[in-house]
């Protein structure tokens, strides 16, 4: 057993008390996200694993198998905290306050031997510094996972294909149309054309903030693919400023049916499928019955 581990093991209770005190007095403590009991049992578990790792006498390499358990616990804590909405500061403070507690105990224990104190502190510091790095890395990874999940969700909900009428599909596009999204839009649209046997698809770009040549190219590709499936495509929602921009850019959309609003696109679709929508004069009918 290494001497450092002995010192620390002897004062295990004091370390945990000091550590808890440090954590509880920190202004950034989030008792709304985690109860004190939970915090204590978590801290206790980590300290036990850490002292066991110190016991091995390995203070150089936290990535060795001696520290497997410590890192596992830390990763667990970081990821949970990232998901619960802790800030990086709060999560980082967790390991840093342990370092303070360990240093306090070592200082007391070795106050007569400054040389040994320096050696011991340096060893534990380097381990705990590496551990706080790992905590940060994992914390960020946890956050990134949240972001990736949201990106997926956005991609999924952002391209709905709506069946507005028998044989007529509408597809409102909101946001920037990049290559990846065009792919999703096209896939969804073509699949839905097959599923419903629709003959007309309306692509509404009211929610697309800017149409540059790349976006236009993606639109043209989607229209061509729809035509290959035997369906006709109407692009609607072309605002006045977008129309001017497209003309200046020199994009040729003359082969594609375009309309300013979804309503007029729907009207065009009705006339193409020989559907007529009429207003019924109920009053006239009432009078006749009289």
């Amino acid at each position: 057993m290494s001497t450092t581990a002995q010192h620390l093991q002897k004062h295990r209770q004091r370390i945990i008390e000091t550590w808890m005190k440090n954590q509880l007095t920190d202004a950034a403590l989030r008792d709304d996200l985690m109860s004190n009991d939970e915090l204590r049992s978590q801290s206790d578990e980590l300290l036990t694993a850490l002292l066991r790792a110190f016991n091995s006498g390995n203070f150089d390499d936290v990535y060795s198998s001696d520290y497997d358990q410590v890192i596992e616990i830390l990763n667990d804590i970081s990821i949970t905290r990232a998901r619960q909405g802790f800030s990086p500061r709060e999560t980082g403070q967790y390991v840093i306050s342990l370092k303070k507690a360990v240093n306090e105990v070592l200082e007391e224990e070795l106050k007569d031997d400054p040389g040994a104190l320096y050696q011991e502190t340096r060893k534990t510091d380097s381990v705990l510094d590496s551990l706080s790095m790992i905590t940060f890395e994992t914390f960020i990874k946890g956050r990134e996972e949240v972001i990736f999940r949201q990106t997926d969700e956005i991609n999924e909900i952002s391209t709905p294909v709506i069946r507005v009428w028998d044989g007529i599909l509408a597809l409102p596009i909101i946001g920037t149309l990049d290559s990846a999204r065009t792919q999703i839009v096209m896939e969804n649209l073509l699949q839905e054309i097959v599923n419903t046997g629709s003959s007309i698809a309306i692509l509404d770009i009211s929610g697309v903030p800017a149409v540059d040549s790349l976006v236009a190219q993606h639109l043209i590709k989607t229209v061509s693919a729809t035509r290959l499936m035997g369906a006709e495509c109407i692009i609607s929602g072309i605002r006045a400023e977008i129309a001017q921009t497209i003309v200046h850019l020199g994009i040729d959309l003359s082969n594609i049916k375009t309309k300013a609003t979804l309503a007029s696109a729907l009207q065009l679709a009705f006339s193409m499928t020989n559907v007529e929508v009429r207003k019924i004069n109920r009053n006239a009918g009432f009078k006749l019955m009289k």
């Binding site: 800017a210 149409v211 040549s213 790349l214 921009t245 200046h248 850019l249």
Partner: protein, 137 residues
């Protein structure tokens, strides 16, 4: 010509395009540019920034509000250290593209903005400067 506000943005990924466009929109709106002119400028900016990403793996953009002869406008300078353009004259023709795009980016951009300047040296990079005045003239 007086430069009133100055800002630089690094463009390294496709995800940088949308924040960059929003920044340009902010600047254009700040000087009171009309919606049509805003859209023209933003579309031009979008074209150029995409070119920069596609052919030069990114670069940086200088966004400035400038004033000249009692006119205000937005000047964008796109600086990349990519391979450069071999034949600028050819690149400025409609429908010419070394990639598989429509080939409208550079000539289209020139039509969208009031002033357009391109300098390119093979192996050193390309600098494109565009100016769009508040009233679009």
């Amino acid at each position: 010509m007086i430069v009133m506000t100055k800002d630089t943005m690094q463009i390294v990924r496709e995800q940088d395009v949308v924040p960059f466009r929003n920044r340009v929109r902010e600047y254009a709106a700040k000087i009171g540019m009309s919606l049509v002119n805003q859209t023209k400028l933003i579309t031009a900016a979008s074209e150029l920034v995409r070119n920069m990403l596609k052919y030069a793996n990114g670069g940086k953009v200088l966004i400035e509000i400038i004033s000249k002869n009692a006119q205000t406008g937005v000047r964008l300078t796109f600086i990349d250290e990519g391979p450069g353009i071999a034949n600028v004259q050819q690149a400025m023709q409609d429908g010419f593209s070394t990639g598989k795009s429509l080939g409208l980016g550079l000539p289209g951009t020139k039509r969208l903005v009031n002033e357009f300047d391109i300098k390119s040296t093979l192996g050193e990079g390309t600098t494109v400067t565009v100016i769009h005045w508040k009233n679009g003239r």
